[in-house]
């Protein structure tokens, strides 16, 4: 049975092979803990920045130009798959253009869960920042 790439999430229930059912199950179990890896965080932030124009190449370029670090296609897409599996982003198929030799773009959008996760991460970071005693920075400053 072939699974056509363009099946919308709502139609998934009637798909015979139902290979996406485990995805839903995983999503439910992950909700309890918002977990974002370092690179995943960068990717989800970039998706947020790009807003409606977040797809593979644009995300990659954005990260490369803003953070001036090399991003491999493999790392990026693995992160995207993971984010989608966790339910933080969802994707919709976009247009197929000439320079992509007819292959569709896949646009990513942050879900409500994703927003919560981002907020949660930011909060924990901020919380941790706040807990750092002032002296730490002073010592470091004096040393330099």
């Amino acid at each position: 049975v072939q699974i056509s790439p363009g099946i919308a999430p709502s139609k998934k229930t009637i798909c015979f092979a139902c290979r996406d059912i485990p995805t839903f199950r995983k999503q439910i179990s992950v909700v309890k803990k918002f977990q974002l890896g370092e690179f995943e965080e960068i990717v989800i932030l970039t998706i947020a920045i790009l807003h409606t124009n977040a797809y593979g190449v644009s995300i990659k370029k954005e990260i490369e130009s803003r953070l001036s670090r090399k991003v491999s296609m493999g790392a990026l897409h693995t992160a995207l798959v993971r984010l989608e599996n966790k339910g933080y982003v969802r994707s919709t198929d976009g247009e197929a253009t000439q320079e992509r030799a007819g292959r569709p773009k896949k646009y990513f959008q942050i879900t409500a869960l994703g927003q919560k996760a981002m907020a949660y991460t930011k909060e924990t970071r901020d919380h941790l920042w706040k807990l750092i005693p002032k002296a730490v920075f002073d010592i470091k400053g004096t040393e330099k």
């Binding site: 797809y55 296609m73 493999g74």
Partner: protein, 881 residues
Amino acid sequence: MKVEPPPIFARFFRWFAQPGLRDHIEGDLIEEYYERVRTCGKRAADWRFIIDVVLLFRPGIIRGFNLQENLNICRMHKSYWTIAWRNVRKNKGYALINVTGLAIGITVALFIGLWIYDEVSFNRYHKNYDTIAQVYACETNTTTGEIECAQNTQVPLGNTLRNNYPEYFEKVLASWWIGEFALSTPGKKFKRNGLFIEGGALEMLSLRMLKGSYESLQHPNSIVLSESTAKALFGRDDPINKTITLHGRMQARVTGVYEDIPLNSRFGELQFFAPFALWMSVNEWLHGREGDWDNRPFGYFIQLKPDVDIANVNAAIKGLYKSHVPSDFYTTVARFKPYPLLVPMSKWHLFSEFENGQPASGRITYVRIFAAVGIFVLLLACINFINLTTARSEKRSREVGVRKAIGAAKGQLVCQFMTESFVVIIISFTVSLLLLIFLRPIFNEVADKKINLPFSEISFWLSSFAFVLITTLLAGTYPAFFLSSFDALRVLKGKFTAARLSSLPRRIMVVVQFTVSVALAIGTLVVYQQIQHAQNRPVGYDRAGLLYMTLDQNYKGKVDKLRNELMRTNVLAATSTSFSPVTEIWNTTSGYDWAGKDPSLDANFAICNVSMDFGETVNWHILDGRDFSKQHATDSMDAIIINEAAARYMGMQEPVGKLLIDLDETGKKKWTRTIIGVVKDILMESPYSTVRPTLYFYNSNALNVLNMRIKPSVSVSHALSKIEDVVREVVPEAVFSYNFADDAYSKKFSQEKRIGKLSAIFAVLGMIICCLGLFGLASYVAEQRTKEIGIRKVIGASVFQLWKMLSLNFIQLVVISCAIAVPAAYFVMNGWLQRFEYRTTISIWLLVGACVSAGVVSLVTVSLQTARAARRNPVKSLRSE
């Protein structure tokens, strides 16, 4: 140049990526690729693309192993088996036809496989199979220019090989010819085949010694018996050290017992081995021949040293005669270009016939023919299966459509139909194993073999399994792909018809089937015609009531008395002695001269020394001149009778009274004899070859064979008992045994008769398979056209018209097959006939007969179905609509 990403890596990516991710990631890759081509060139872009693809090869992107990872494969296979079994049970008739056809085909293939295995494994019992060889002496026939080889070799050859080429030979063993010898102990007497051979033979042949050792043949008065013979002679007693009288005049002590050699070995018929020295001790004429390069009384077996290539040895010893034969003798035979040739054990059986000095053909021809026949018969059975399955495809088309609509992939459907074929073939295979068990004795008798069923050997089961798989592929592949390729949409809409396209391959296959089986039938008939032709050949003497005894040394000095006593019993019309029986030639000689001889002629004459009454005993026909006679006292010194062939060969119009001169090697005259008569050709050798120029010398000392003719008025059994009484009385130490000329003559046909019988069986089975297939097809067509037939009948068609309409299609195919088979079979069989000098011509009636009988048989088969369909009541067939 077109700029695109490295295709191998693009393909690789598409192969490993998850289907859900594949397209858009590929899009990303391509988009980046073209951008890089613009900014930093194609080379760099290619490299980056490759690196990207390699980095994408990581968990999360790579797909699972199977696209249907959630399907339960075991369940699916279980379902295949269930459906297959149900289909077999639902269509019992078709299943029966299929299973019968396939079972026959597989049984034939299995029997032929066993037969071929037996032939190919001939002599393999001996562990030194690869290093044993026999020495042949070859020389060029100066008349024909062909090289002729024979097993009998010169006596000094053995020592020459031993002493001058020790680096090649492990063993060089002189041996007498395998023959029947009398073994007697007090109270028991048997004739058994045995071999006199030098010590070391037991080890060379790697016999399994039950008693004694490989050294048991070293003492000149020893004998080593086979297990069965030891049992027959001594029962349960220990045979070791018992004394046996061999052939009435040699005393030997049993020193060993070996496990019987299986029959598919050159030495399988042997029941004992005795030392060569024992044979030498009682044959004075063999003594003192260590330097005699002229006569060739016996043979040599050799065993090569390991890692010696026989081709090298043959090349090395090619010049042996030139360098080791005394030059004054060599010059007299140099024009024959003699050389010795080692023939390896692997060629003894399958390549026993020599062609220009090389073992070229022999039973290998029959191995090849039967391998082809086996494959053809199996193919016929497979074609049946294919035809019936595809013909019935319409019945299955809806099932295929529904399965496809539910989501079955083509591969799964193929798998299902293959399973169905597999089930049918497994059933057929089981049936044919049973047939194998029941028919083995009959097959062994027809093929003159002792084939055992190797059910206990794993290799048999493994090869059987492979065989079943191959047959499944052969029979199942086409139907499986044909059925699973239906377009679901069209099939379910009901637009599917068993299209013309699908019936064409079927018709072609029926033509192939009938071509093969008509060709087989023609081949069989030609074999029979040739045998018949040779059997009806005039033999030049009278076989009825003619029998002969071979005389050994025990009869020495008693032959005249024996003949007198035999004649006094009044059951015999005539007796005579001769050098060889009338069905064989034991001596050929060249080097004769006569007035007006063409100097280029140098062929061998067949020689038979006979006593006075030989002509009367065998009833030969004197065409010119007279028979030997007591009235002419000079006959014993001077007379010679020749046959027609000799007269023709010598170019004599009036041979009677002409002189024949015998020359020795140096060309000096030895003696002269007068030709007193010409006899009609007597067929003494192969019934398929021309009669050789033969000279009959009068010689009352030719005492090898005693010929007797029973009076026509006396019954054979009565005569035999009388003869036996006399022989026992006159020569009590001899074993009484006799041969009828008739039996000896018909034995010459046994090989061809056996081949004829086997091919007849296969041809009949092939025809049965074809007819089964035709029967199935006809019944299917009749079933399909039930409504059409009904309507035609209502409109007014007669039963005959309907029958003609339905049958004609099939008969057409048979006619086409005959048109192909006749020239093909004629060509092949004509080639086969060329092997025989005395051969029949293939008659046109034989070809016509084969075709007509194929036509009649197939017409009857088809009519069984079509006539029934035509007679059916239209009310019944049309009622349902």
